[in-house]
Point group: C2
Chain length 418, copies 2
Amino acid sequence: MSNPGFVAVLEGSIVSMGDMGEASEIKADRILDAAGGLLMPGQVNSHCHAAMSLFRGLADDLPLMSWLNDHVFPAEARFVSEEMVYWCTKLAAAEMLLSGTTSVADSYFYEGQAAQAFHDSGMRAVAAQGVIDFPAPGVPDAADNISAAKEYIERWQEKDSLVRPAIFCHSPYTCSPETIKKAKQLAMDKDVLFFIHLAETKTETEVLLERYGKSPVQHLLDLGVLDAQTVCVHCVWLDQEDINILAETEAKVVTCPESNMKLASGIAPVPAMVEKGICVGLGTDGCASNNDLDLFGEMDMLAKLHKVAGMDPTILPASKVMKMATVEGADLLTLPNGCGRLQVGSPADCIILNMDQPHFTPFYNPNLLVYAARGADVEHVIINGRVVVEGRKIVTFDLQEAQKRVLELAESVKKFAK
Amino acid sequence: MSNPGFVAVLEGSIVSMGDMGEASEIKADRILDAAGGLLMPGQVNSHCHAAMSLFRGLADDLPLMSWLNDHVFPAEARFVSEEMVYWCTKLAAAEMLLSGTTSVADSYFYEGQAAQAFHDSGMRAVAAQGVIDFPAPGVPDAADNISAAKEYIERWQEKDSLVRPAIFCHSPYTCSPETIKKAKQLAMDKDVLFFIHLAETKTETEVLLERYGKSPVQHLLDLGVLDAQTVCVHCVWLDQEDINILAETEAKVVTCPESNMKLASGIAPVPAMVEKGICVGLGTDGCASNNDLDLFGEMDMLAKLHKVAGMDPTILPASKVMKMATVEGADLLTLPNGCGRLQVGSPADCIILNMDQPHFTPFYNPNLLVYAARGADVEHVIINGRVVVEGRKIVTFDLQEAQKRVLELAESVKKFAK
């Protein structure tokens, strides 16, 4: 590696950057020596269900509807509690931090507990409370789903500069048109983001066609909920008209290739969406369908999948994929100005990789960060100027405790699954 | 993790295995304490061009023919030397060992140098000398390609119990029918494996159709070179008749999903080959088209790719993929009996993973080794009873020296590529 440099941070933001030669002019309270490392913006995981770490690998190699209805929903009905969400989100936060993710968009139930876990881990998060027209964890009567979300948003709206609340409508097949409209109205009233799973499976598009006579995207358009503060997750089953609608309404999209591949949901038309100028972020989805939260692996999968799917090796070049996992994620989550970038004035959300490894030798260009890097290469993580991982150790909380708590919960899950 | 156990090794082989309770009866000269770790068979990388580590990430996001003709072949013509093959193979061996690969099938030029590098690293290898109808590194006159291979095989045939020689015909589009037949005859005379790139791209099938009026597989069948000692690499563009031929002749197949995806070569019909009972191993290909040599990542990619390609999440379950990367690789490379398995009598080729990590928490079942494990999780590596990696450090050779030598070579490559 060449060009050793420095980044100076004050009050959470990058205040100057340059060659090491100029660094002597700077007086620092603390110096993190990362000689030989590579500094880059922290990654943005634009879709996750962090607490589902409890169900990691519980049910593999199954169709989505059976995975969801026979395994995930029953396990969730039985095991999701405030305590579970707190500890399992904390474990997921550790996994994300240790693999270089500094910001996450999370969507689950008891989201106040998730927000608290992100707060306690030092992670930047948009934490969205789940809304669904079934009895859900923490919301036994579905009629209360909007008021529960409202109460959560009000509780977290001004609480933490790093953790912001939002709303997550599960999907157009599990939420009625009324619920979707009310949830979006609440999001607008409170000026928070509105997330929704959209067009994930072929079955979903068939159900929507039968129920409403239209595609999932057209359905949301007609409900008036597509705009720049709406984040549509998955978007696998779109036709060109759907893509045009998303582009025209400036709705945002998150693609989760590993989850879509593992569940055989399909291949999202990411190159076509990019072509239309849609802002597309990258997400891991919950690690029950992945089964990890490593955005480096997700970048590699995304880049390679679309090349072979389109039979064109120039599709989604590494540089574009890296942008999706940083800049575009930050933009679609409306993170503070400069997030996802390394520039003066940006919040200091950075990661440092250990480059002294065979798989980085030689290092001709940054494409290798997409095609060869993995989460385990991350040595240090800084969020908003605070060191949260140092020498591959979480320094903001007791990881052992979180692991122990999750393993205790997992013992009950094991008995249930038998 | 539960059920702590032990594995006892004598003269390179596993002589007993059991619960820790029984271990006290065993007297060992050396004990490797791996408490809390997971022990599994070392992985078998069934296709690699190890020395191409020098060209890692030199030319990304390009079509195969341009990648090969405009970048790889010119760089090879200029930079491949005995010294280059030795050091770059050694670096690749380090990368493979550190990611849990204990055996490799390598194919390149100056293969004696590669064989020496594998020998010096303590890795188990089938090292195949390249044969091509162009002037090649070490074989300036293509007319000498068979005699050069013969001389290499004779030199290495009885030299090392871990490193065995073999022949690698580059492909049916770069080798004449005469060359292919002679190379296979030599392989039969010497009782060594015969490797060939086959049906990798659509262009190749078109060229073969035009040149010989038949498919690549049919072409090899008619040349009489398909049998149980022939390993066909890639096999992307096959029809059902080709698959039947491979099954009937008992030819072996290696699939390299990451390389095929990145170069947009296509998706090999792996599930259809498996269905027909063909032995299919897993390879990384050279890391110029991947861009790493991590078989854990390759397993994940393989499993997920075929699920979404076949729109069926039950295709290639994790357990089958794990077999392809261990048992089937060992079988197709005709490695010593028991390789790729953990059983009494097997050569002690084992790896131990560090399970005390968030992405392995919880660990409900071994599928997680396919869907969440990565090379960096490998803590210790044992090959033929010898510890070659301990606590993530290569102990058989000086990795720093290999990295330094490769970086020196890379400086020249950089100038050339500009």
